[in-house]
Amino acid sequence: MTYVSPLLNSYLNNKTNKLNHHDKVYEDLKKHANDVKPNEAKAKLVKRGPVTDAFNAIKDTGKDCANFVKAVRTGKLSDNNLGRINDLGLKLGAALIAVFLAGHAKTKTDAIKQFVCGGGFLAAMTLWPKLFINLPARLVHGFNIDQKYINAQGDKKDFFLDNQFLPWDAFSKEELEKIGKRTGIDYNSENGEEKIKRKMQKTALQNRTLWMATAGFATPLGSAMLGKAVGPKIQEAVTKHDFEQAKDLLENPEKLEAFIAKAKPDNSGVKALNKILNSNNGKMPDAKYFKSISEKLQVSELFPRLLSEDESKIISGIQSIGLEDKLKSLYEVNATVSKNGLADLIANAKLPIFSADMLLTGAEDVTIDKTTATNILASLGDNISISSLRTLLKSRQVADADIEKFIATLEVDDSSFREKIKEFAKGPLAQAKGRIKAYLKIINPIAGSTAESMATKEITDIMLNYADALGIDEKTLAKAKSGTQDASKNILQDLFVNFFKKQDTLPIDERTAKYTELLNTLYRSPNAALTEAMDKAGATENIARVVKTDGDALLEAILGGTDKQVNLEGVIKQSIRTKKVDIDAIRLKGLLCANMERRIAAGEFKGVEDIVRAIIYDGNISSLNNKLEVHEPEKFADILKQMFNRNAFQKEKEVCETIGEQVETIHKTLFKIGDDTVKNLTFANFSSRIKEILTSRFNDKAWMKKFGTMSAVLVAVTLLAQPFFGKIKKEYPEKTQGGAK
């Protein structure tokens, strides 16, 4: 055995302990494993609330705009921000589309609705998930399924956007614990945190799926219902606003003057006019030419654009007095022929000169020879107007027909005439058109037939009042929708007839009381503001600002001259007056119908009930041609006289004091018995109008019922789904012990 020093031996014997050095190091490292901690998560949850949400929405949109500019300039943008530009495009696109559609809208209401409904669509898109999915989910499950967070790159994202990846460390332990308490999971139990996360994940996924499934229905439903609900309100607001504006102008002459004065000239039609003017071939034009020019200078074409078709027909009755003649005169004054060679032309034309002496003496035809022609032309300049030439020739006893024939052969320079007409069209006429348009902007909100005029509103309100007063229900509405005009006449008739039938069983006092009650519900007092405004709109001093011609003969001719039957002033007044009468007639219609039915029920008009009813409900007297009017005009007149006898309206007078006088007025002014054209303006299209209104009401109700039900069902299903979300399968009883499965 080899000798080994004890010291060395001892050392070597203890070496076994030292060989586990690495084990010791390892154990030591394990003990200090948790000396390092993971870095703090860079993802941060975004705190929200209604105010911060609104603020953030604006801020985010601003950021999106800035990112868009940056992307265009530098080409640099993260995927997330690039995706967000889509949202910006959506909002901007919606706004631009609304602007475009508004620009092409026929009415102000339609124009405003483009923005309201466009905004409504976007709002529905945003609010549907917020109010009906996120909020209930938050209340039921205790967390925000629309939680946003800001990631490491500073991008704001939806936390639950990608269900496969959820940056959970953005949630603190406390937050998860709180959510766990809400959902009945103990954070501190085994796998507690994981269970809470899974539940949140599932709940969020299910809710987002629900959102996707319902958004396609909810958004269009929401925006459509919004449009339906606000449409009438917008129209009412626009009507009132425009009416007040118009009224204000009419009540303030200076304002009105300024308003009309700053009206932009209307050059519409100038191009077409120029085309016609330039179509003449350098010869004396025919009557057709002047007629074409005359047509292009009319103002009645303004009206169809601004008023209803009915009124445009009326207004188109503005007859230009002698415009064609004036145009021709103007032409002849301004169009010239060259003096050069004219004498020869005159001589060659062999224009026969007529003299009384020749007739007596039987002298042969004498024509103007060249010498004579030269002489008579001597006093004139190089370019001779047609009118001067005509005068000259006439003075030489040349017959008109011969003069016309001769002038037709001449080369005419009408550039001056064309210039004058063009200047007229661009100048005084354009200004006059501008003034007319401006004034129509005042008339329309008051007395127009568009949906946005106060007159239309008044008529609609009156008719709706009838519908409400007479208790028109859905069945009758359905009848009105599906039926013809006859059907609507029968509805009112049936209602009145039934009313009086029911009266039969009642004592007289009650009958009277009921009848009075009916009259009160049927009658609507005149709208004083509207009446006043209409009067002002038709006032001569106001219209005068529009129709002034400043002595321009052409303009005078175009606007109809002083003939109040057909000139612009007269026609404007007539249309306003007609509208007034219409309103009055419709307002009184209920009383008239009630009166007639009462009298028929009392035994009056025996044998002619049909005629009376035909007149009072439908008012289409022309349909009665086969019945009475043509065959027995006197009897017809008697019936009318009896019908519209003011003294037969005592009962109705208690409700409407002036009904007696108004009935007579209606009778006198609007029924012209014996005329070929029987005007039935009193009851103009009452049947079709009320049918239209009732149909619209029916459709609205049916629509609201259908889509309202759909919306309600959608909301109910969405809300009721909430408690079923987030259910996690129970753990397998044998859980983890068995190893991999």
Binding site: V4, A33, P38, N39, A41, A43, F165, E193, R198, K741
Partner: protein, 635 residues
């Protein structure tokens, strides 16, 4: 050479240097090899040696540098320094296909065709070394799981076992060459005998020591050629492993195992015993400790951690530090990309590259694999800046690999063909903070398109008869043909680019008319500043690398389809500077015209990349500060 023990006291007496394990620890007994046991007297020496044999167990827990390291004269593990110093040129290899012999041309190794193994893989090492690769990323070598497997050989990333019962690394028996060549056999037998004390009678693939020996042999051969070996540590386990070791596996609240999204054949580990307190799973930790021990024992130089984020920082804090206790140069590469939510995956924790680098990883993958999406030069520069800033913030140098195409990505050939591969090779060779990286086969233009894609075959080693393949990617599920393509010119570019990085340019490119003047291009590339050069065409990549007055210029065309032209501003450019491309020419022609005003007008063919040595000492001083990036703390 037998193990010799020298007591520290004796060593001190005899004035022999011994490595210190830990300053705070008392001097421990150490194994010192290749040192003659210089004794005061031969008798004493003999006595000490005889005594030590009696005390030490036969299977020695090797401490410090291992046999494999020691057996290669002059070799020293320096992988850590290589990685952080941006000097590693890495090739990713799969031993089971590396040198496979496909006879019938169907690209699937079946029947009597020879698959790749640890011995025949050595035949490729000279070729790999010749190209300039100095590091290998060896994809997992463990026996794959057979249950619910993907592919007919099983996924490399679904190991059935990590560590054998005896503590050695679990190696797939299929990687054993049962009939190695004579020279290899001799060395393997030596290793085997040293390990077991017994003679090797048969290359039995079921013998763990045979597997150990063959792998050790392979590693040794790598080291002989100056190639470091970095082994891939899978982040998850196969179904087989999970069934056998439920204590290590992650389970959801519903009792089901956690499966990483998209990977149905593997199961996730459970890194925490208690996630609330962040107490680590001891069984898992212990297994990984053994794994590190086994790697170091084999001579492996470092680990590439698959899906680094699958385990928390606390875990790596133990394992990485432990590895450095055993081998201070043990390198760590993390598969981690960038930002916490850039690569989301169900059941996977978030990606935190900075965290992993702070806890000890030397290098990470980064996001160069999405370079195809960066169509503008600024996007590249921004990313370079991001990484340099991160490294500087950490306070110790950290690097990336040139992850332009990893085994999880499609072959770069599919994006832009051979020119694109050459472009990215040159680019990643010149970028700061990057260790160039490619997968085996790319150096000759492998498309990784396999005709047997999803075919059903009769013979399978798993429960799956389908040849599952990720089209366009290296096959990690089946025994496929040897990687390689038909574009050897790519290798030429690889070699030239790496030679520049390794200060061997003139030596390697003897026949080139272009000579490199600077002596230390490696320093310029690995430590120099990165200077962005303004251009008027966003598709032109132009930057300079500068250090100590030496400048290399990179100008490339990022467009794979078209020639692009533009002007590059080069502050301080010598009006007489000529532009001679140091890289091989390929594809379409490039033209350079010095405008003599500090700019050069260029016309670059599709996917062309050029590198120039320019005489420009003032470039850094004259460039805008914003355009200059410098990685700090480099040694």
């Amino acid at each position: 050479m037998e193990n010799k023990i020298l007591s520290p006291i004796l060593a001190q007496t005899l004035k022999i240097n011994t490595p210190k394990m830990n300053n705070s620890e008392p001097q421990q007994a150490q194994v010192v090899q290749n040192q003659p046991a210089v004794g005061y007297s031969p008798l004493l020496t003999q006595a000490v040696l005889a005594q030590s044999k009696q005390i030490l167990p036969k299977t020695t827990q090797v401490v410090g540098v291992t046999d494999a390291h020691r057996n290669v004269v002059g070799y020293k593990n320096d992988l850590k320094d290589m990685l952080v110093g941006n000097k590693a040129n890495i090739l990713a290899v799969i031993p089971r296909i590396m040198n496979a012999q496909d006879k019938d041309g169907n690209e699937l190794i079946q029947g009597d065709e020879i698959p790749g193994n640890l011995v025949n893989a050595v035949e490729r090492l000279d070729e790999i070394k010749d190209l300039g690769f100095n590091t290998q990323h060896v994809l997992p070598v463990h026996p794959p799981g057979k249950t619910k497997a993907m592919g007919t050989a099983g996924s490399l990333y679904a190991p059935a076992l990590f560590v054998e019962d005896d503590g050695s690394l679990a190696i797939d028996p299929e990687l054993v060459d049962e009939n190695p060549p004579k020279q290899a056999r001799k060395r393997i037998e030596e290793i085997y005998e040293k390990r077991t004390g017994k003679k090797l009678s048969k290359m039995d693939k079921n013998d763990v020591n045979v597997r150990f020996s063959q792998f050790a042999y392979y590693i040794e051969e790598c080291h002989k050629r100056g190639i470091r070996v970095m082994l891939d540590l899978p982040s998850c386990a196969s179904v087989d492993f999970a069934m056998a070791h439920p204590e290590m596996m992650a389970v959801g609240p519903d009792g089901k195992e956690k499966v990483p999204q998209g990977w149905q054949d593997i199961r996730m580990f459970k890194p925490f015993e208690d996630e609330q307190t962040r107490e680590l799973n001891q069984a898992l930790l212990d297994m990984h400790r053994k794994y590190v021990d086994a790697c170091i024992d084999l001579g492996i130089d470092g680990i590439r951690a698959d899906v680094g984020r699958a385990k928390p920082v606390e875990f790596w804090n133990v394992i990485i530090r432990y590895s450095h206790e055993r081998d201070p140069q043990f390198g760590w590469l993390a598969e981690t990309y960038t930002h916490e939510d850039a690569s989301p995956q169900l059941n996977m924790p978030y990606d935190r590259p900075k965290e992993l680098l702070e806890v000890g990883f030397d290098s990470y993958y980064g996001q160069y694999h999405i370079y195809n999406d960066w169509t503008k030069a600024d996007q590249l520069y921004d990313y370079v800046k991001e990484n340099i800033d991160m490294s500087n913030e950490i306070g110790r140098p950290k690097s990336l690999i040139g992850s332009f195409a990893t085994h999880d990505d499609s072959s770069p050939m599919l994006y832009g063909g051979a020119p694109w591969v050459m472009f990215t090779t040159i680019l990643q060779s010149m970028l700061p903070q990057v260790n160039p990286y490619m997968t085996d086969g790319v150096q000759t233009g492998d498309y990784y398109i396999f005709p047997y894609d999803h075919a059903l075959v009769r013979d399978t080693q798993t429960d799956n008869n389908e040849c599952v393949v990720h089209t366009g990617r290296m096959d990690i599920f089946n025994k496929s043909r040897k990687p390689g393509g038909k574009f050897p010119e790519i290798s030429n570019v690889v070699k030239t680019a790496f030679s520049l990085r390794d200060n061997k340019y003139n030596e390697v490119n003897k026949n080139s008319s272009v000579k490199l003047e600077m002596k230390n291009a490696q320093d310029v590339i690995t430590k120099g500043s990165f200077i962005v050069l303004p251009t008027n065409n966003p598709e032109i990549i132009a930057f300079a690398r500068h250090k100590d007055g030496k400048t290399l210029l990179f100008i490339g065309n990022r467009n794979v389809n078209n020639t692009v032209g533009g002007k590059v501003q080069i502050p301080g450019l010598n009006p007489e500077q000529k532009f001679q491309n140091l890289m091989p020419n390929y594809g379409e022609e490039c033209k350079f015209q010095n405008q003599k005003d500090g700019s050069v007008v260029v016309e670059l063919g599709a996917s062309r990349a050029c590198v120039f040595e320019i005489d420009n000492k003032e470039i850094e001083a004259l460039s805008k500060k914003n355009n200059i990036l410098q990685q700090q703390y480099l040694k």
